[in-house]
Symmetry: C2
Subunit: 459 residues, 2 copies
Amino acid sequence: MGTLGHLLATNLASFPGEIVPVRNGESLRDVPGEIDLAVVAVPAHAVPAVAAEAAAKGVTAMVVLSGGFAETGEDGARLQAELIANAGATRVIGPNCFGIQNCDLPLNASMAAGLPRGGGGICLVSQSGAYGMAIFTMATDERVRFAKILAPGNTCDVTIAELLGELADDPAAATLCFLLESLADGRAFVERARAVTPTRPVVVVKTGRSEAGARAASSHTAALAADAAIWRGVFRQAGIVEVASGQELLDAARALDGQPLPAGPRVAIITNSGGVSVELADLLADEGLTVPALSSPLQDKIRAMLPAFASPVNPVDITPVWSRFAELYPGLTDLLARSGEVDVVIPVLLQRAALDTATAEGLRDVVATLRTDDIAVPVHVCWVAPRDARPNADLLQDARIPCFEWPARTARAIGHARRYALARERTTPAAPVPARRTGPTSTDPAEAAALLAELGIHT
Amino acid sequence: MGTLGHLLATNLASFPGEIVPVRNGESLRDVPGEIDLAVVAVPAHAVPAVAAEAAAKGVTAMVVLSGGFAETGEDGARLQAELIANAGATRVIGPNCFGIQNCDLPLNASMAAGLPRGGGGICLVSQSGAYGMAIFTMATDERVRFAKILAPGNTCDVTIAELLGELADDPAAATLCFLLESLADGRAFVERARAVTPTRPVVVVKTGRSEAGARAASSHTAALAADAAIWRGVFRQAGIVEVASGQELLDAARALDGQPLPAGPRVAIITNSGGVSVELADLLADEGLTVPALSSPLQDKIRAMLPAFASPVNPVDITPVWSRFAELYPGLTDLLARSGEVDVVIPVLLQRAALDTATAEGLRDVVATLRTDDIAVPVHVCWVAPRDARPNADLLQDARIPCFEWPARTARAIGHARRYALARERTTPAAPVPARRTGPTSTDPAEAAALLAELGIHT
């Protein structure tokens, strides 16, 4: 574990609090003072003894990065049981986990070589450590800010539902994202989510829907399709935003965390390419959103700004007037956001518009002014551009204005934001929680159906 | 038009044949010898006179880049009618068009600043010039090779169906892609496609499905949803691969053009992250593909190669054995492709696996060997990696091995390839073509329904 130990020492070096290395042959009990968190990376067979020491020392919590437990078979399961028994009052995150990151402290108690940028409200809980870290990598490339990332591994003690509960009480955690392979404590998770969604979005991707997916996730394969359909209903009822993939999870999080919620379904598109706006309008319609024709007075105002042959109807097509992009994109975004006729504005930055830094700067500034003036209309950029234009997307993304590549991602992400807004309107403050029952785990379809029935959905 | 003239001169400079500039005040008739193609970029009002000169000179074809015709209203429509009348036997591409590109000659008779890399079989016909060029830009970033790109604008003479017919006779055109906003000659297009798809894939994205999309595309809005559903049926019947967006169009083209067709639905996944493979297996199932458990003998062979705790079942999870990636990814790809148990192999290159150049080189070499040995099992890489890893994706893409970013794009693209393979098995060689009728254009739902009925589909 030498390499991992070295990686951990490097990762933890940026933590502003006190770090005490405890090496082979040393004991937690020899550490002076109180220990808030023990990060454990010793071989599996040595972990139960460390847990006993932590319990004796009164350590608040331990993160066990070491693998070799229940995920490897019966011997490992026995070791895991021993770990739990020995830990006593010390809470255990893991084992077999990628670790935890608090981007604001900063604390990188994980195997990831790097910490996402802090200052954002996105929290990610991933049952797959490697995939969670891949999402973080994409986020870093696209300059997304996080609050916390947790890859809790085997969740032998601290469960996914408990993490959701903790994050719900965390003022830094504005947008809660979960990449889930199984939901052993599904009932508790959904109950807690239901209490959270009236105030904060909870976004979930539930993988392992297919037979092979479940096989890979080592969960049981009975009645998978029914299971997926039932969970979909339960999630919707609880106001959870369900997404289809990890990439979509992050896109939804960017839309929800970076911009105000869409107060209605009406979208304005500003474009320099008819073709992209046609496709985008179609894809927005697929998401239940509309691209309404604008009123005559508003069209007149827009027409007065535009060159001949441009269209003020919506999509507003400014045509390829390159020299005026930096004036028209921000000016029209401002006009449309203040018009009262639309709930979302999408500037399509295609090719030369995306390559023009002044256009990106103008959009960034106009969105800042809209917020200062309490105009809560979200602005999402649809980005169709060569890689060379990336610095301008970074400029916008740094201002929390999402730049989604290509119309499909744009439409889907805004669709999720709108669905959450609708769920929030629909959900009443936390309903009485059904009594917790013993019995089969809630991955059992009958159990899930019963839960659904309790929530008022007939299957 | 000075700037456009300059751009054109630059673009045409790379053409190895003879280019004769004809300036204001000069006439086509003064050009010595025969003219194969006239590229026209004079103001709209001057175009009909140029067409008359071209007809008199016996010019084979003219590409009219100039705008200001039917797309601008009644005056423009009259000018366009005059253009057609004057052109006589000279074929007209355009007007109001982005131009045409032949990447192999090379010939860049377009407004695009740059020509895609030649040597590939992909041809793109786009009714939106700007969007077509955006797709080309993405293709350049992702190192896709094209044969031809055509953005034929108002199609006043040479229609989309005629272009399809021409490309069907072009030995360089192996994969035919269409970005269509309207289908004024839809009947002819589908009839020709039906004759082409038994030998070459035809991939279509049809935009303008929604009311706003149709409004932006300036096509009529009656019965749009019915129209879209009917076209979907007609396309399927003709063996056309229909995709939902421009990005998906290019992804399907890359899958179809770069690799052999999947002979069946069985997919093997090789991964170093359980989480990604679970999601990918789900998304493949959504596409009608399977990730079957492998036979015991094959699992034994795989197990012998793998470290402890790795899974030989499928998805084959090699675990994060960084030092062995360059050996295991190519070795397992070779073993699985030759096993007879799967029809597609997907190595998932996630994070460190993607950053490892030796792994990419090994995969490239093993795929080359498979082809030499006539093993026609397609290999598609699922790419989940930071931008820093991009040179390794380029290395694979240069060898025509698609690297699709994230599981959703991977699964969808392979799904399209498999759907085309099935359509090809299903379609008989060109059936008798129904007699062409006069009457309403085929964007009329009743007309489309009648066509559907002729093709044996009841609506």
